[in-house]
Point group: C2
Chain length 217, copies 2
DNA sequence: CTGAAAAATGACTGGCGGGTCATTTTGTCC
DNA sequence: GGACAAAATGACCCGCCAGTCATTTTTCAG
């Protein structure tokens, strides 16, 4: 193996074993950190545990991240892009109410399944220390969801729903509250988020597949 | 003042200057601690600041409370009894919808005015460390509120509201979410909690004073 | 006023954990 | 294999802060 790929210059650095190992290690650290932050929150998270879990030494963490905060930031940013996986198919034949509900259900189920809903709580509770993160979270997650709700409320033409264009929070708040509830009340049977969402949507928007009010226009 | 109240035995200890000073100091400490916890959360709260604010030395805190946790506990317990100030008059002539809304409005306004809504957030965010506090909070604050909602939903006889008997959380979640929002999004104009409550109640229960659906029975 | 006990003080400590860096290990190229 | 550098290691450092305790101050009975 003398002159196989003799490119000692910059070239593409994505090839070497070095590079792949680094990437893998970075991923392992972020995964371990995510688990640690979810389990203990920011203040109680221990970098020693993160290192152990990731299978590296504590010092190694600092080759990849400047500080505990930077690591937290990386965990959060790593989670963000996944939160809005595009809904499998736009499916042009689906009526808007159905599509809307499906979209919400998918977003909630997805967040819950991946444990990223817990991250949201951490951002919320530690936001005093990281005002920047709150903004990121708002812009990357909440605003799009609010947009979804607003668009639906507006386009549905149902007068009752007009307040949702002003306060889209109202439709999403129970999901947040229920997530908190489940984190807090570990002794009680946890709330079933999908069912709660369904109940809430029915309460506010009307029954699922029926036509609560004629769609105008 | 020789033989005014010469009772050196145990007697009732509520009289002496000593006792009154102690009580005042205890109250001052709890007040200072409440402000500190609200401003910084549990982890970032500094007992040195609490002591300074209360006008005592740090060591003095430990004459009154065993630990930081015990102090937090005391703050929380001190706030609890106030949260449900009895509504000025039961007013037997008032229709239930009006009384119910009034009661909710009062509870929310009261919590917000006193800053105790922030305490709720702290309990939520630090609950991983203090599972006991979550229980206290649930039992002392949430359960009574849930009871209120359940009773109303049940007694109103409106079929649409049946889900509220199962998930009374749905009606209260927006208040929690809005409180978080206001804490997080300090750059944006804060949500008006009373207005948000009104909007949500209208959305779910129907317009304020009207009769959204015939009360059966 | 006096003495004794209760209350308050604040300099001090212990340990904890985030962050560092001299040393060792590993990957790469010839 | 040898030489070089990149990567990894983990013992160590250091600031911080909850909690302590020997000393001082205050209360109050006699």
């Amino acid at each position: 193996m003398q002159e196989t790929t003799p490119e000692p210059q910059q070239a593409q650095p994505e090839a070497g074993l070095r590079y792949r190992k680094k990437e893998a290690k970075r991923a392992a650290i972020i995964a371990a950190a995510q688990a640690e932050f979810i389990a203990h929150g920011f203040a109680e998270a221990r970098l020693a545990r993160v290192a152990a879990q990731a299978g590296v030494a504590k010092g190694t963490l600092y080759l990849y991240f400047d500080s505990k905060e930077a690591l937290f930031d990386a965990v959060l940013r790593g989670a963000l892009p996944l939160i809005f996986a595009p809904p499998a198919a736009p499916d042009p034949g689906t009526p808007p109410q159905v599509a809307f509900r499906r979209r919400l259900r998918a977003a909630i189920a997805d967040m819950q399944a991946s444990g990223r809903d817990k991250l949201a709580l951490i951002v919320l509770s530690e936001s005093a220390q990281f005002p920047g993160l709150a903004r990121i979270y708002l812009e990357a997650i909440l605003e799009p969801l609010f947009g979804l709700v607003r668009d639906y409320a507006r386009s549905s033409g149902v007068a009752r729903l007009e307040p949702l264009t002003r306060y889209p929070q109202l439709l999403l708040a129970p999901m947040l509250a229920a997530t908190m509830w489940n984190r807090l009340m570990t002794e009680r049977p946890p709330l079933d988020l999908p069912e709660l969402l369904e109940t809430h949507l029915t309460l506010v928007l009307g029954p699922p597949e029926g036509e609560p009010a004629g769609v105008t226009g």
